[in-house]
Amino acid sequence: MLFYISSGLFLGWSLGANDAANLFGTAVGARMVKFSTAAIVASLFVIIGAVVSGSGASETLNELGEITTMAGAFIVALAAAFTVFWMTKLGLPVSTSQAIVGGIIGWNIFAGLQTNPQVVTKIVGTWVLCPLLSAFFSIIYYMVVIRIIGNSKIHLLKLDSYTRFGLIIAGAFGAYSLGANNIANVMGVFTQLSPFQMFNAGGLFTLNSTQQLFLWGGIAIAAGIFTYSKKVMMTVGKSIFKISPVGALIAILSSSTVLFLFASVSLKTWLVAHNLPSFPLVPVSSSQALVGAVLGLGLAKGGRNINFKNVGNIALGWVITPVTAALFSYIALFFMQNVFLQTVVG
């Protein structure tokens, strides 16, 4: 069983290694927060987010394609992981969320199953909405923060302290949201095949089968954060964020809010109960949410020095990533079935 979920665990590891930089890159790169603090906070909250709130986005992936064998799930996760690896090597924009969707569609095609176009539309629509919504929140938060700082006349050094504290809190919220939203990418394809039984921790709490799977996925993400994300934080974090620490705080808060909106089952339930518009629970790209937030910040400041090339790169990713992952998935499934003689379609 460990072998089959290893592809998902690898995907989790690479998610932790790369995406943690989005949360703590500026704080660690500018030496406002120690890497050890960032790693501990991010790991803890990513695991909590995955276990507590990971089921919502995962269900949407199951609506897209319900993989019926462990070997099939292994290949789909591996195809997504390979797509992320290969496109990163080529320096192309890539999202784990988009790769796993492509991988599942590849399995549907191989299995001869119809992919529900409504689900695809819902998912792709969310990818488009994600950076836009992030930009929107960024503008709102910017206006609020400007007003607070302007009216309160905080000393520069006190503002620095509050910002450091805020970056840790925002990073924790971001890690929770990342875990809640993206654990579906890591372990979503295995949820229908989870071998775990209900776990009771002496009456304190219980973990169902899916939650235990997500716990493993969360631990893999945490391993990625601890083992590889420092390098990414120090380089990628610095290059992306040529904005102030307060600006970075706004951007992280905005992108985390969006990830949370697209992951929280309880929030969706509350909104529906109060006849308010709710958001579909879909795994989205944390990097694209962050790019949207930074663009929103640029717009809020007057629209100068906005890098519209980033917008083009995001749109390119929406097409290339799932198509590439679907192709890899199909080819790998063929090999797994016909060369390794494993059952990939149940």
Binding site: L157, D160, R164, V246, K301
Partner: protein, 217 residues
């Protein structure tokens, strides 16, 4: 228990405030020193000179401590360079105030009675520019909206000092009662050194203007 970064920030805020208080004090001691010298009150002038040395040394110590702590604790990473530059440049103003008084003490320039009021007025304008500079730097830390107001005032007092410098120099070189060229040159030196304080204050205020613009979210 407050988080460590709040404690360090509090520590530095206190030191920066203390440093700026000392800059203010130095300029006032300088102004008093010039007045005492012009009035011929030697003993009080000497005591005043010792006092400005003590205050200037304290300001130096604070400036070094602030610089060390800002770098060691890696506070305000995006503004640190500007703040260090501002504080170092402001320390130069303090150093010059002390230097001028030391030169008064060593060289004992002869200042004719008809020039004393102008010397005092020039000193006042230079000190006012330093006063506005200090207020401007406090605003840079606490209330960015007021920085430009103080920069404008520094420019005003520097301009007044420039005009007085020229007026004084012309009086020195056209006065029939001052016959020796060396005496005229000596007086011109002291006029320039007093006016230089306002020039230095203006130069710091220009750096502050750029730093304030950079301090946007």
């Amino acid at each position: 228990m407050k988080a460590p970064f709040f404690n360090k920030a509090g520590e530095l805020i206190t030191e920066i405030d203390a440093f700026l208080d000392l800059v203010d004090e130095t300029s006032l001691i300088f102004q008093k020193g010039v007045r005492l010298f012009l009035n011929g009150e030697e003993e009080k002038f000497d005591s005043n000179l010792k006092r400005i040395s003590v205050v200037e040394n304290k300001a130096d110590d604070y400036q070094k401590s602030i610089k060390y702590k800002l770098v060691k604790y890696m506070l305000i990473p995006d503004s640190r360079g500007d703040v260090l530059d501002l504080l170092e440049s402001t320390d130069n103003v303090v150093d010059n105030c002390k230097k001028v008084l030391v030169h008064f003490s060593i060289e004992q320039p002869y200042i004719p009675d008809f020039l004393k009021n102008d010397f005092l007025e020039l000193t006042t304008q230079s000190v006012q520019s330093v006063d506005c500079l200090v207020k401007g730097i406090r605003s840079y830390f606490n209330n960015l909206a007021l920085v430009n107001d103080y920069i404008h005032k520094v420019h005003y007092y520097e301009h007044e000092a420039d005009e007085l410098e020229e007026l004084l120099a012309r009086k020195v070189f056209t006065a029939g009662s001052i016959k020796d060229l060396c005496l005229k040159t000596h007086l011109r030196y002291f006029i320039s050194r007093i006016a230089l304080i306002s020039d230095l204050a203006e130069s710091v205020s220009e750096k502050m203007a750029v730093a304030a613009i950079k301090r946007s979210i």
